[in-house]
Subunit: 332 residues, 2 copies
């Protein structure tokens, strides 16, 4: 294993210390592992909390800030945050209007966020939960019952965050988050496995000339392995699966995220985006907004995920709203 | 070689097609390989042009836009753009106030930008050149006479771009670019080599437990190879070399860029930044501004470069000025 770290044991606190040093606009509690906005919560604003295993940076800590999350709870690498940690974040951001959890559909995350919601309820804080399950590659997996939550999480957090910032109530914020998830689908392909600091060796083996079609964000298996193919063919398959599951009519719009899994150069991500754009154009689908880069990663995995969302006018408007976080920023 | 591409021959045009599809605010001439702002140049504004070999994305095309570059010329992978290409970019952005070239110190780039400047002069366009040579790892290299130009290029392009946007003349824009370079130093370390699409195999070999100290952005050799060490020790050596060469007094400020070489996860980059911040704090140096991410990459190399700039008030003010490019955006 070759990584920039001091020790596997101190990996997460060392990463959090760096995030804190780089972003004084965040308050990073390294001991409790809660990342939140430095300014106190605005009275009456719905609090937005997400979290999950570490190793997917910038998700979720990089999306804390104006117009997006109020707090994020990073677990150990590829391990859910614990209920007490989520509860601490919930209490810290509650400003009397309730809190919305954004949870990726992995068994551990679902369980721990549910327990935290119960604990928060005992403390008089009403919690709504948005479950993200956009990955159409597999139904059920080693980590999940049902579909996995992946790239759409960025869209859900951005759009729900914008509505929360505008003063909507918890039910409305949760509803729009669910709407984004319902109209979004993702599919991922890996060129290489990833290595957790604790394990010190790749989570799975992939021969030098093979790729994993439909891989998950922890390196969990997808649909099959096969020989490397041209990017155009890989994109055609991914889009086929995505649009079969959630068709978009010609003339309609899409928000497209082409996401790197951590070790894929930006040049290749733009190349993939170009293929997505060409393929959607043939189908008469217009890309209204796009994002190309590393947003939901899998440590040092080389791979790409494609997320397509079919937005209405309100989702586009909220997508365009100002956002100021370490990883996503415009309008301010 | 495992990469997302259609063929090695079409790699650059396919990447440029994706950049064009994703950024309608840019005008990308895929045939001539010139990336520029879609809106025509503002009369009287100094034009800012940079370029170099491809493979370092987002450098330089990702830095074209309001408050930064007017045009970028990407060459083949790790190969200088040609004089005619640079001349075309120069003519396209000239608005009567002359053009400033920002050139990284590699023999091919220096030669071709010089020839383009001569050709532009023949056409009545005055050109000033800022040479970037911030890499203190080696003096002379397989690609360079003198020091290599690396991470400081981002700072030079941002700060000179801000001054150009504010209407300064070519001499002033070039002078501030040189000032940024003069006060900036960089040092890089690689965990893995990189593979160009044309070669199809790594440019050098690096054993599973060794790292290259002082590596260049084309994978060219640094100072030595050695066993992997804790991030803290690597950072201590890099900062030692940087600050020996360009001391910063206690109480003074720094702009710090912790840059990934393409395949380094963001978590590790933040971890490295945390170590830089802690080490500078011990020296009494305050980090006034920072940037952590992939900005000057080397294809799929896992590695990190550290750039430290000692800014005055004017450089900080220009750093903070609005910028709207694919890879760097704030204030708009």
């Amino acid at each position: 294993m070759k990584k920039f770290l001091n020790s596997a044991e101190t990996f997460i606190p060392d990463v959090l210390a760096g995030l804190a040093a780089g972003h004084p606009e965040l308050q990073v509690d390294v001991g409790q592992r809660v990342i939140r906005r430095a300014e106190p919560p605005r009275p009456g604003k719905v609090g937005l909390v997400s979290g999950g295993g570490s190793g997917h940076e910038p998700l979720h800590g990089g999306f804390v800030g104006e117009g997006m999350l109020d707090a994020a709870c990073p677990g150990e690498v590829f391990t859910s945050p614990v209920p007490d940690q989520i509860l601490a974040a919930t209490k810290a951001v509650d400003a009397g209007a309730g809190v919305v959890f954004i949870v990726k559909n992995y068994t551990g995350d679902v369980l721990n966020f549910e327990m935290a919601a119960d604990l928060a309820g005992d403390d008089g804080i009403a919690v709504e939960t948005v479950l993200v399950n956009d990955d159409v590659a597999v139904e059920d997996s080693t980590w999940t019952a049902g579909r996995r939550g992946t790239g759409a999480t960025v869209l859900v957090e951005k759009i729900a965050g914008a509505l929360a910032e505008q003063g909507a109530d918890a039910a409305a914020v949760a509803a729009i988050g669910r709407r984004v998830n319902d109209t979004s689908r993702s599919f991922a392909v890996a060129l290489t496995p990833c290595t957790t600091p604790a394990a010190g060796k790749p989570g799975f083996e992939l021969p030098d000339d093979e790729i994993e079609i439909g891989v998950g964000i922890h390196g969990e298996p997808g649909r099959r392995r096969e020989k490397l193919r041209p990017a155009r063919e890989i994109v055609a398959e991914a889009l086929g699966v995505i649009l079969d599951d959630r068709p978009i009519d010609p003339g309609e719009r899409a928000i497209v995220l082409v996401n790197g899994m951590g070790a894929t150069p930006l040049s290749e991500l733009y190349l993939v985006f170009g293929e997505v754009a060409a393929a959607l154009e043939v189908r008469g689908i217009r890309i209204a907004r796009n994002l190309v880069g590393n947003y939901v990663t899998s440590l040092d995995m080389a791979g790409v995920s494609i997320t397509v969302c079919a937005p209405d006018d309100e989702l586009i408007r909220l997508w365009d709203a100002p956002v100021r976080t370490p990883a996503l920023r415009w309008g301010v």
